[in-house]
């Protein structure tokens, strides 16, 4: 059952990464861009209010970053647990 527990650990770690990254995803869009937009607009960033900037620019940049960080974390995790596809990929 060694395989079974390895699988469980892998999946738990994956869920942990997901919850952290999705919290950031929620914070920059729904949090900064919608719920707290008026408060953040008090802070100026050049011509932008910070809330407005997050809603129309910042959230999108961070979305892109989140995906690339996720890819990096998961590739590392796959290798650590030996679940990566090197022996099967590309035939």
């Amino acid at each position: 059952m060694a395989h079974r527990s390895k699988y469980k650990q892998y999946w738990r770690k994956n869920l942990q990464y997901l919850s952290i990254l999705l919290t950031i995803w929620f914070a920059v869009s729904y949090g900064f861009g919608i719920l707290l937009v008026d408060q953040l607009d008090q802070i100026r960033l050049g011509g932008f209010g910070l809330g407005f900037w997050f809603a129309q620019q910042g959230s999108i940049y961070i979305f892109v970053l989140i995906i690339f960080v996720y890819v990096w974390l998961m590739n590392r995790l796959d290798r650590k647990f030996g679940f990566d596809e090197k022996e099967h990929g590309d035939r």
Partner: protein
């Protein structure tokens, strides 16, 4: 050379490239036709996904919408990009590992049920048809404005091109044409944006120009200037919202989740060779999309400022040439109510009556003319708009043809058809779908705009929870998932039909539930779907062992193989 000659050259060259690519990348098997043989490079797939996703609405309409909505337009920017985070983290790698061709395939196999498969097929076809109609219309509009042909002729030309490369090339042909289309559309979007940014703020990068000062030496920020102009004419400030916060929240969520649940986007992740490739290609896709989506709000602000500076209180006799051009298409209307020969363009808070009506869709197309950019830029924008519309149309037509040939026939009605017959059926279905889409492009039903809310709402309330639960819950069974989907879809559909079609006069925040508009109701439908599915599954039998094993298998990347080689 004049604008028309330039436009003709740009459009003809781009069409020649699409046809050339289609001939080079013909589909030879069902694997080629459905998932491009499962061997597309992640960056290539990212570009194709970006072109697939960015439609005529993104290219032509979105910046215009935002320039009239100001901060409220953020719902589109966040909604149509944030969905990719969900897609990359929660769906793409697992669906790739599952390794079948379509979304209904996954739903049908995971929930060991033909009913589930059929519900998914019907949703996929409905969502895709809704969408494709708008694309064909977009093609017609671009043709009629820039090349001076009837909208009908424009739609026929568009149909011909799409028919050629979608029917012949299948997913393989579509993928490589979409790469060409992405390059063209992003170039066509960025060039005028950069020009305008330099003229108005002196910044080469529009994303910076957006937050910079205007170049007239006043030292005023562009957005301050815009707020001031809006205010003086009786519009609400550009950087303030007028929608209720909970509505903005729900609309954004419905668009995000809807994006992640759209079958023509999901299916693109079946075309890459490995699970790791599916993950990274979602990242590339969003990066390519973000290039346009962070430029769009800048373009919106520039366009709005330019428009107000040019037309507000200007004498009609001296109106610029673009104003007359668009007037003849009926997309700008001026009605001199007080007979003073000047254009009064005013908002709801002004005492002066508004005399000018501007269709939001023209902002991007007219922008180069408003900013007096060279003629070749205008031709480029026209070709870019066509690229955006055609690439999305092709992706959607493929989903429709796959749903009919693969999900309905091969996996549903007649299971023992040969691969050859299936491929012919798929091509035939694609052909029929092009004709139906063309018909609706020529005779658009009056409710195209309304049904778009439908497409996202339904995708959010049906596919998304079913797929998520299918991956992240080993306990979820067919009873739970099917009831959840049916409740989610019915609730969303009834709410939208009630407010959009049966009682449009009640369609305002006083009558909406908790102030949620029909555009945002898909979010509530999705939550209902999740709750129902969870509750029902607790009181019904566990899924069979083989299904639980399948869930375990899709959770780890190793052993994916190519999409068409897996058989479970």
């Amino acid at each position: 050379m004049n604008v028309q000659a330039w436009t003709f050259i740009m459009v003809a060259t781009s069409f020649a490239i699409y046809i050339g690519v289609a001939l080079w990348a013909r589909a030879r098997s069902t694997g080629d036709f459905y998932v491009a043989g499962g061997s597309v490079h992640p960056v290539v797939n990212g570009m194709a996904t970006a072109a697939d996703w960015m439609s005529a609405a993104s290219f032509i309409s979105m910046a215009g919408l935002i320039s009239f909505m100001g901060r409220d337009g953020s719902v589109y920017l966040m909604g149509w990009t944030g969905g990719y985070v969900l897609l990359a983290l929660l769906l793409a790698p697992y669906l790739r590992k599952f390794g079948k061709y379509t979304v209904p395939d996954f739903v049908g196999d995971r929930y060991y049920s033909q009913i589930a498969r059929m519900v998914a097929v019907v949703c996929a076809i409905f969502v895709s048809f809704t969408y494709v109609t708008g694309q064909m219309r977009g093609v017609g509009i671009v043709f009629s404005r820039f090349l001076d042909v009837e909208i009908t002729t424009g739609v026929f030309i568009g149909m011909g091109i799409v028919f050629f490369y979608a029917v012949l090339g299948g997913m393989k042909g579509i993928t490589y044409t979409q790469v060409a289309q992405y390059c063209l559309l992003i170039f066509a979007y960025l060039v005028p944006a950069i020009f305008i940014s330099m003229i108005m703020t002196g910044h080469v990068i529009p994303q910076f120009g957006f937050g910079a000062t205007v170049t007239d030496g006043s030292g005023q920020y562009l957005l301050e200037r815009l707020d001031g102009l809006n205010h003086a004419l009786g519009f609400s400030a550009y950087t303030d919202g007028s929608k209720a916060m909970q509505d903005v929240f729900f609309i954004t969520a419905a668009l995000m989740v809807g994006t992640a649940g759209l079958p023509h986007v999901i299916v693109r992740f079946y075309t890459v060779p490995k699970v790791a490739a599916a993950r990274i290609s979602a990242g590339w896709a969003l990066l390519f999309i973000a290039l346009l989506y962070t430029t769009a709000p800048s373009v919106a602000a520039f366009a709005r400022t330019n428009l107000l500076n040019t037309v507000a209180d200007a004498p009609y006799e001296q109106a610029p040439e673009w104003f007359r051009n668009w007037e003849t298409t009926g997309l700008i209307r001026f009605d001199d109510r007080n007979g003073d020969g000047r254009i009064q363009y005013t908002g709801p808070a002004s005492e002066v009556e508004n005399e000018l009506f501007i269709d939001r869709d023209i902002m991007v197309l007219a922008n180069p003319e408003i900013a007096r950019l060279p003629d070749w830029v205008i031709g480029l924008v026209a070709a870019g708009g066509l690229a955006a519309a055609l690439s999305t149309a092709a992706g959607l037509l493929l989903v429709i043809s796959t749903a009919i040939a693969h999900d309905l026939f091969k996996r549903g009605l007649s299971r023992n058809i040969s691969e050859r017959t299936e491929l012919i059926t798929a091509r035939f279905a694609a052909g029929i779908a092009v004709c139906i889409a063309g018909y609706f492009g020529i005779n658009p039903p009056g409710f195209v705009a309304q049904v778009v809310a439908f497409a996202f709402g339904l995708a959010a309330a049906s596919f998304f929870p079913a797929i998520i639960l299918g991956i992240f819950s080993r306990r979820m069974n067919k009873e739970g998932a099917v009831t959840g989907m049916i409740i989610g879809i019915s609730f969303t559909a009834i709410y939208i039909i009630y407010f959009k079609f049966l009682h449009p006069e009640l369609n305002n925040s006083e009558h909406w539930w908790w102030g949620i508009s029909p555009e945002g109701i898909g979010t509530l439908g999705m939550l209902l779907n999740f709750c129902t599915a969870w509750l029902i599954s607790r009181f019904t039998p566990r899924p069979p062992r083989s299904v639980v094993e399948m869930v375990d298998r899709i959770r780890v990347p190793s052993g994916a193989g190519k999409a068409h080689e897996i058989s479970i």
